[in-house]
């Protein structure tokens, strides 16, 4: 294969590091050059972070015949165990691609990934796929949006959970089966000992999602990524699933990344929020910062265009003008500028210079050219009164 033949010292170093057991290519302090056609060679001299999960400048591009699709274009965030991060954005913002990137689920031949993903002191972008596979399911797990397509229709739910468990734990089928029943009980599936031999189509949507949660938690992962876990579910079932996730987080002390476009859901479950637009993070802060003191025009737009259960609003919603941009032809400078009501206040800057994420308050950062005082004034005087 291309990767092995072009290898040389770099790749061999990786394999031997791998073969020698846990720890692997990303040991702190060592300079390891890893070369593969689709992963930009990274010299790891960065210091591993103190956070449990830290993503630094992650970039995931898909080269296609029509051009390079810049799905994720330099995002950074961090997360501790026991806390939840909500990644909010609309279609095409890059949030799902980010989560698949963390899990190492992209086809390395078809993507160009750079940046760093640090999980509990190990760097994943430069790690070998074999190593990442060992972590998948064990250290990090994922819950997908549509449980019917995420579960295999030909296998019973029990066998799917047992398979996931036995890959990471050397136990007998009997022990794994007992564990599967225990997990199904934990997620409150009634009559677990019998349901374990049922097929996914025999469950309702909410129950299938619980099965997925059981499967992903069977190996006690410390990081759980939930990609729109409740979008396909009814609202009362959504409430049950979110409550279940909160309970399990308290029990396992997992870090949860929840990806959604629903601002109500993040208000309910997230501790911190990252707002994404066109592959970049535009605002990052605690849930109170983002809901009560937002400083990015896109965040303002999202908050203004959402209907709310608790308010009889003024007659017109305030949608964001225009549509989300193509990720092949991302607007120059600030990707949001064609839709931003305030970009003229920056003169030419918005069309020529990409705004970087800068801290506006401890723990709260924004990527916007508008000066901090201007942003705060616009929020207080113009945007908030209309909500």
């Amino acid at each position: 294969m291309f990767r092995r033949s072009s290898a040389g010292a770099g790749s061999k170093a990786a394999t031997s590091a791998d073969g020698s057991g846990a720890g692997t290519g990303a040991t702190a302090g060592a300079t390891t050059l890893v070369s593969a056609p689709s992963v930009t060679p990274v010299e790891l001299h960065s210091v591993p972070p103190r956070s449990f999960l830290e993503v630094r400048d992650l970039t995931i591009h898909f080269p296609t015949d029509d051009g390079v699709v810049k799905s994720v274009d330099g995002i950074s965030f961090s997360l501790e165990r026991g806390r939840s991060l909500g990644i909010v954005g609309e279609s095409g913002s890059g949030k799902s691609v980010t989560s698949l990137g963390i899990m190492g689920l992209h086809n390395r031949k078809k993507t160009r990934t750079s940046g760093e993903i640090w999980l509990d002191g190990e760097e994943l972008v430069s790690a070998s796929p074999e190593h990442v596979r060992k972590l998948r399911g064990k250290k990090m797990a994922m819950i997908f949006q549509d449980p019917l397509s995420a579960l295999h229709p030909y296998y019973t739910v029990g066998s799917q959970i047992i398979e996931a468990y036995r890959i990471h734990n050397n136990v007998s089928k009997k022990v794994a089966r007992a564990r599967a029943i225990e997990m199904l009980d934990r997620v409150k599936i009634p009559n677990a000992a019998k349901c374990i031999d049922d097929y996914p189509h025999q469950f309702s949507g909410g129950m299938r999602q619980r099965v997925m949660i059981a499967m992903s938690l069977s190996c006690n992962p410390s990081l759980l990524i939930a990609d729109e876990p409740t979008t396909a579910l009814d609202v009362t079932v959504q409430a049950q699933i979110l409550e279940l996730m909160r309970e399990l987080q308290r029990e396992f002390n997992s870090a949860i990344v929840i990806i959604t476009h629903d601002l109500g859901v993040v208000a309910e479950v997230a501790d911190d929020i990252l707002v994404m637009y066109a592959g970049k993070g535009v605002e990052n802060g605690s849930v109170e910062d983002v809901f009560y003191r937002p400083e990015h025009p896109y965040t303002w737009g999202l908050l203004s265009s959402v209907t709310r259960l608790d308010r009889v609003r003024a007659d017109r919603l305030l949608p964001i003008a225009g549509t989300p941009p193509s990720l092949i032809n991302v607007p120059s400078g600030c990707a949001f500028h064609p839709r931003c009501a305030y970009c003229s206040l920056n003169g030419d800057r918005s069309t020529t210079e990409v705004p970087l994420m800068r801290e506006t308050d401890p723990g709260h950062s924004v990527a916007c050219h508008l000066p901090r005082d201007t942003r705060r004034r616009i929020w207080t005087e113009e945007v908030r009164p209309k909500l």
Partner: protein, 346 residues
């Protein structure tokens, strides 16, 4: 700063006609379940709509909410006669259309139309949008002064699309734009009633807002009556004059907008309202939460008497034996429950 319940919105100041434009009486739609290969025997029925009665006045917006399997989409299709009811009546402007043949209904379809949920499957991918939006004129054999093409271009402009895209195909548009095409098609002949079945659910939040504003503008301009079917209670609150809550094929509560959201009476309505997340972290932390046990029962085998009794925390013997009728409790407020109780959940 925020409009409170006591400030009437511009919507409520709109004059609503006196005579109902649509009356639905004990409507039923049961889908038979058959078994057997050679000789098919009916072994049961999916009771999708099982006794629904309501009326809508001209110019009003009725929001119909409920979760999967409650029958709201089926009800929308029966009302527009895409399906024929198996029981009960549908009266449009006084005419009983329940069992009219399609040939007789077709001229009436100038007056009522439907907007569908999925902007991807509701437009024929092999037709240009000019053909799609022009189809109503052709089917109803309507000639306009300046010709169909001009009428279509005017419609495209009305819904916020570029009239020059007349010859483009649906796949060249985004989801929100496709939904606008569906709206243009529905209003082409200036109908009096539109049934919109989850018209914004498949769209991103900021695009939802655009399409909702469009529907509201069109409604004011053409004095449309709108039946807005949705599962999103926040959107329904924004757009509706009255709201009907459906559960397993029946209406459990129907009230005008303010009444339903501020003084809900049915336990299922309480559960629904408490489950909807509000984009306000502090409020979310301090809300009263009702978590229902289990899932919605199947409409193949709905519970006896009060269909909600299997999940209701107030259930008593009478709930399992006597079906509660939809009774008027207050002006503009009807509820089907033996023990209705007011609760603040927002």
């Amino acid at each position: 700063m925020t409009a409170t319940a006591s400030e009437p919105s511009a919507r409520s100041k709109r004059a609503l006609g006196a005579e109902p434009i649509l009356e639905v009486e004990k409507l039923e739609k049961h889908f038979p379940v058959k078994r057997g290969i050679l000789f098919q025997k009916t072994v049961g029925a999916v009771k999708a709509v099982d006794g629904v009665s309501f009326s809508v006045r001209p110019g009003e917006t009725l929001g119909v909410v409920g979760e999967s399997g409650c029958g709201k989409s089926t009800m929308g299709r029966v009302v527009t006669r895409l399906l024929e009811p198996t029981g009960g009546r549908v009266r449009f402007e006084g005419t009983d259309i329940s069992h009219m043949k399609q040939g007789a209904i077709r001229p009436l379809r100038r007056s009522f139309q439907m907007i569908f949920q999925d902007p991807y499957s509701s437009l024929n991918p092999r037709h240009t949008i000019g053909t799609i939006v022009g189809a109503p004129f052709k089917l109803q054999k309507i000639q306009t002064e300046k010709g169909t093409k001009r009428a279509v271009q005017d419609l495209l402009e009305l819904v916020g699309l570029n009239p020059e895209h007349y010859n483009r195909y649906p796949h060249e548009f985004s989801g929100g734009q496709r939904q606008r095409i569906g709206v243009a098609r529905a209003i082409a002949l200036r109908p009096k009633l539109i049934v919109a079945d989850e018209p914004v659910s498949a769209l991103d939040v900021s695009i939802q807002a655009q399409v909702i504003n469009l529907l509201e503008d069109l409604q004011s301009e053409f004095n449309l009556t709108l039946i807005f079917i949705a599962h999103d209670l926040s959107v329904v609150r924004h757009i509706s004059d009255s709201v009907a809550v459906m559960y397993l094929g029946t209406i459990v509560e129907v009230a005008d907008n303010v009444e339903l959201y501020e003084h809900p009476l049915h336990p299922y309505t309480h559960a629904l309202l408490s489950a909807v997340p509000i984009p306000d972290p502090d409020k979310e932390q301090h809300r009263d939460r009702i978590l229902l046990q289990g899932d919605v029962p199947s409409p193949l085998n709905p519970p006896e008497a009060c269909r909600f009794h299997t999940r209701c925390w107030k259930v008593q013997e009478i709930c399992k034996t006597v079906e509660p009728p939809l009774l008027q409790i207050a002006p503009n407020h009807k509820v089907a429950c033996h023990f209705p109780e007011e609760r603040v959940l927002i």
